[in-house]
């Protein structure tokens, strides 16, 4: 993949405007990308990053503005046109075909063929070569894609971009589904690509990643470019955050109040699920936040979903205030006062086409009904009161949930359980895909709920988040709780060691409970 050095920027976007019904998603965006650089695109949710890369990928046609590609003005009328020019995009929601093999996905759209017959062997070889280059020779090209983990699918998505000999690869939050080790692997691949003259547009919420891999940064806010071509390594974090939010945010965790009482609210004993996790026991007291730290695939999401009754345990019990819950029944858990903010907000929590207030009142609607009868707006005021209190923006409770940004959608899910009056909250990756501003609001909300006596279980891949928010941390590895300690006794390095198995002998025994 050798590319003649292009004089001037490889890509220049000028004054890009994209209007949707009711929203001006892009309102004059500029972006310069030179060959061989990693250009980071920063911005809060709703700042226009996704729209901008869709314009670049030919999925949206801009209403105004100019795109100069390799020195020539172009218009990408279709994804195929962008593809042919050498722009590949790895979307956050992977656009792969689960039913096809890994190799078929890699070559999808440009299958090697002879006389109309596809050459499977050639496709396999190509996929194998690319996967090896990506540091994943263990992924078999003939494996059905849907059977790979999310991280594995991400690698295939990368291979597919490479297969097209792209000169510019756009990566939309590629690290969101990756473990720390795999992120390092991703960075190695990115460095190889840029050394070959390929340009990478990298989108991430994690500023530390941008420091590590990025060359230059462009910041978007409200559909406009507010700063461009900042040096990625040396621009102070505070400046970047100020640019993104338009205000100064201390990226700090709220102080912990002392636990409200010693009352054990949630008690999990010997919970197991064949093939997923074994013998998990823990308790959460009123006013306490318990963090579950672990890698993707360690079983942490499975554990909270089983506690919640969404999966049926093969052994063990869950008690709320001493009362044993019927295993495998979500309605029983909700009746007992539990609420889950699941990992995948859009597919697991929200009715995207329904108005915000109906999303909020979904479990609690019986309360607003008389003998099953429920007026169309009977629950509007109560739901709007809570979304207002959580500062869900835009504030109109009749807007479809689809139109909200990730952070505000998460607030809608939390509002749902506040309205329901939950006393046990299970939060699975509550800040994934949530921008910096909304993040601190969610942190503050979690602590406030705890201070009001809620028992909270927090699952997160981000160790600082677990340490900063939780009172007590359980480390989960390969389906077992390998360590339990007050968060004050742990630091990030120690947790990462525990999470990734580099544990000194003896420390792996968990303190009994």
């Amino acid at each position: 993949m050798t590319t003649a050095p292009t004089p001037g920027p490889l890509l220049a976007m000028r004054g890009i405007v994209k209007q949707f019904p009711g929203v001006r998603a892009l309102d004059g965006v500029d972006l310069d990308v030179t060959a061989g650089e990693v250009h980071c695109l920063l911005g809060q949710n709703g700042a226009g990053k996704s729209t901008l890369i869709k314009v670049l990928a030919g999925a949206h046609t801009p209403d105004a503005g100019e795109i100069v590609w390799a020195g020539r003005p172009v218009t990408f009328g279709s994804p195929q046109a962008a593809d042919a020019a050498g722009i590949a995009t790895i979307y956050q929601e992977l656009d792969l075909v689960p039913g096809l093999t890994v190799a078929e996905n890699v070559v999808l759209g440009h299958e090697p063929s002879r006389l109309g017959f596809s050459r499977l062997r050639a496709a396999d070889d190509k996929a194998r070569r690319l996967l090896r280059r990506l540091g994943h020779p263990e992924i078999p090209p003939r494996r059905e894609l849907g059977r790979l983990s999310a991280a594995g699918q991400q690698i295939v998505s990368m291979a597919r971009a490479l297969a097209k000999d792209a000169r510019l690869i756009v990566m939309d939050e590629p690290s969101a589904v990756l473990d720390p080790e795999e992120v390092q692997n991703l960075f190695r691949v990115i460095r190889e690509l840029t050394a070959d003259g390929v340009a990478v547009v990298y989108i991430s919420h994690r500023l530390e990643e941008i420091r590590e891999i990025g060359d230059r940064v462009t910041v978007l806010k409200d559909g406009r470019t507010v700063a461009r071509n900042l040096p990625a390594r040396t621009t102070p974090t505070a400046d970047v955050i100020r640019l993104m939010t338009g205000r100064t945010v201390e990226y700090a965790f709220p102080p912990r109040a002392a636990p409200v009482s010693d009352e054990v609210v949630l008690q999990v004993e010997g919970l197991s699920r064949t093939g997923e996790f074994r013998d998990v026991s823990f308790t959460v007291r009123a006013g306490e936040v318990v963090g579950l730290a672990g890698l993707v695939g360690s079983g942490r999401s499975e554990i909270v979903e089983t506690v919640y009754g969404a999966r049926r345990p093969s052994a063990g019990t869950v008690r709320v205030r001493g009362k044993r819950l019927r295993p495998g029944s979500v309605p029983a858990a909700v009746r007992a006062g539990m609420g889950l903010a699941p990992e995948e907000r859009k597919s697991q929590a929200l009715l995207l086409g329904e108005p915000v207030f109906r999303n909020v009142s979904l479990p609690a609607m019986d309360r607003f009904a008389t003998a099953g009868f429920l007026g169309p707006d009977a629950d509007l005021a109560a739901a709007a009161e809570i979304t207002g209190r959580l500062d869900v923006r835009p504030s109109d409770p009749r807007r479809p949930a689809r139109t909200l940004s990730g952070g505000n959608q998460q607030k809608v899910v939390l509002a749902r359980w506040l309205l329901q009056g939950c006393t046990v909250l299970l939060l699975d990756e509550p800040t994934r895909g949530v921008d910096v501003g909304a993040r601190s609001e969610i942190y503050a909300l979690v602590r406030r709920l705890a201070a009001q006596g809620a028992a909270i279980v927090l699952v997160s891949s981000e160790v600082p988040e677990v340490l900063g928010l939780a009172d007590r941390v359980l480390v989960v590895r390969e389906g077992r709780v390998v360590h339990e300690a007050p968060s004050g006794e742990l630091d990030e390095g120690r947790v990462l060691d525990l999470v990734m198995e580099a544990v000194p002998a003896g420390a792996a025994e968990r303190s009994g409970s």
Binding site: Q19, S347, Q348, L351, L362, P363, A369, L374
Partner: protein, 329 residues
């Protein structure tokens, strides 16, 4: 840029009009009016009370099935069995033995058969994890077989005067069947739009996983949706038994497709989560009016079916257009 700015709101207004149930319903009303104009121009008899009541009576049986079908489809399922469950119920409630107990037992039998078939459908789909298409297709076939078995493939004459009299009864000049249809529509509309049951139906059809994780009992609700559809088939069975004065295994052939088509042209998403009952009913009326016009003009049923097919395609095209322009991601 100025051009774009002018175009966008215009297109989006149009999209919004089609996007809301109300807008699409207006479209269907316009189609009905258009058909009415065609009727007036091409025939002398279309716009007579007698003919309009005939149209309504003919719409009433499929209409009742369509109400149940609307619930099932909004809830994310499909019920292919309604036509033949109706036939089975009509046969079961008109056997010599059942008729000997009188009309109350006959009605009870018809409703029980419908509810029972719906319950079996629901259990197969939820606890048996069989996709709705297959489960209700199996029910269609077995209901047909059972109806033939019970009736010995003969039409069973309705001798009970109350049941036979339903179709002949008129209140204020309007046939009782039309009142039954209207009552089912009103109850259905209230349940769908003014109860927690209706809200849950939309939620479960829109995102079953989210509904489950919000604590809704998705299985129980799904079973109830098929029971509602079965109940409608039971009601329709009494209506058709009365109208034809027979219970027969040949009743209701392909009615399920007419009901599904009416739901679809009424703007309900086949994938669930969105739709209106009024749209479905307008869909039934459009279909029945088309049939009526063809009969009045002595045109062949073949042409009529082609017209219906074209109408379905046009409705779905409009639906997907509206969706695409409203879904901006």
């Amino acid at each position: 840029m100025e051009r774009a700015a002018r175009e966008e709101p215009a297109r989006s207004r149009l999209a919004r009009l089609f996007d809301t149930g109300g807008g699409r319903n207006l479209g269907l009303v316009a189609v009905l009016v258009l058909l009415g104009v065609v009727g007036v121009v091409t025939t002398d008899t279309f716009l007579t009370t007698a003919n309009l009541l005939t149209v309504l009576t003919q719409a009433s049986i499929i209409g009742v099935l369509t109400v149940g079908m609307t619930f099932v489809i909004i809830g994310g399922g499909i019920d292919l069995s309604v036509g033949k469950v109706m036939a089975l119920a009509s046969v079961w409630c008109t056997t010599v033995a059942t008729q000997s107990f009188g009309w109350v037992v006959m009605i009870f039998c018809a409703l029980a058969v419908g509810v029972g078939a719906g319950l079996v459908n629901g259990l197969l789909i939820t606890y048996g994890r069989i996709v709705p298409f297959i489960a209700t297709l199996a029910m269609l076939i077995s209901a047909q077989g059972l109806a033939e078995q019970i009736s010995g493939r003969r039409s069973q004459i309705v001798t009970d005067p109350v049941i036979a009299g339903i179709a002949n009864t008129r209140l204020a000049g309007i046939p009782l069947l039309v009142y039954i249809f209207a009552a089912v529509v009103v109850v259905g509309w209230v349940v769908l739009n003014r109860t927690t049951f209706g809200r849950r139906t939309f939620a479960i059809g829109g995102n079953p996983e989210a509904a489950r994780l919000a604590g809704l009992d998705v299985r129980r609700h799904t079973i109830l949706l098929y029971v509602v559809s079965g109940l409608c088939a039971g009601i329709a069975a009494i209506m058709i038994a009365s109208l034809t004065t027979t219970g027969s295994s040949t009743h209701g052939t392909l009615y399920e497709l007419d009901a599904i088509a009416a739901v679809i042209i009424g703007g309900t998403l086949l994938t669930g989560g969105r739709g209106t009952l009024i749209g479905s009913i307008l869909g039934v009326l459009v279909f029945t009016t088309i049939t009526n016009l063809f009969i009045l003009n002595n045109l062949a049923t073949e042409v009529q079916n082609i017209a219906k097919g074209a109408l379905i395609v046009i409705a779905v095209l409009i639906q997907t257009r509206a969706q695409r322009s409203s879904g901006t991601g």
